[in-house]
Point group: C2
Chain length 128, copies 2
């Protein structure tokens, strides 16, 4: 019986192991696309996001499932810090491996931001 542990550092593929079909498939899910989109917006501030920041998109366990997929296909990096996991895009690796792809996807997504519901409703600023 393999013990179920969550303290170990999550596994990430090397740059060369990142595969185009896996990346495209990962980005084709609306929830994962929204996660990547929000991570990309956070890039400018060079800061990271943790799981809780995406609670507007889905439930915790479903998010954990999508985070795992994003990690396994090489789209993002997870850093464990206490009870939090901080995540960021693997921008450099992706740009090296598939030049222009991530930006094309992100700007295409931005154009359809509302149609794609990239920003969770609870993230919208409420006047008052």
């Amino acid at each position: 019986m393999i013990p179920r542990v969550m303290s170990r550092a999550p596994l990430h593929p090397t740059r060369e192991q990142i595969e185009l079909p896996m990346v495209l498939d990962c980005l084709s899910d609306p929830i994962r696309l929204a996660i990547v989109y929000q991570l990309a917006q956070q890039e400018r501030v060079s800061s990271e996001l943790c799981c809780g920041d995406f609670s507007g998109l889905s439930g915790k366990s479903n998010l954990a499932y999508h985070f795992a997929k994003l990690r396994e296909c090489g789209l993002m990096l997870t850093r464990v810090a206490g009870t939090n996991r901080f995540m960021r895009l693997r921008r450099e690796d992706l740009d090296a491996r598939f030049p222009g792809l991530l930006d094309a996807v992100l700007s295409s997504a931005a154009k359809d931001a509302d149609r794609l519901q990239l920003i969770a409703e609870c993230d919208v600023t409420v006047a008052g």
Copy 2:
């Protein structure tokens, strides 16, 4: 009972109906990526390809399934001519809708052409 007919012109989405997640999902399948890749190579000659030209990738009925997906998500156009169906990329619509995306995918795919088996074995030129 709806009669099953194959003479009618296949349905294609309008430019505005083309959705990013559907396109990414379509491109994430190795067989469909290979089809798109070969269509893109044919673009230079501004000519079209018909189903039989892809017989190296899979069986006829499986190809018809993938062609339908590619059509329905707006990646390619099918023109009926006698018993043949000629297909080509919806380059203009895709570039208008998602600037740079198709080229980024195609050049990323080209870099991994062998790994992705984009060219069917029977397409390889045999010396003799």
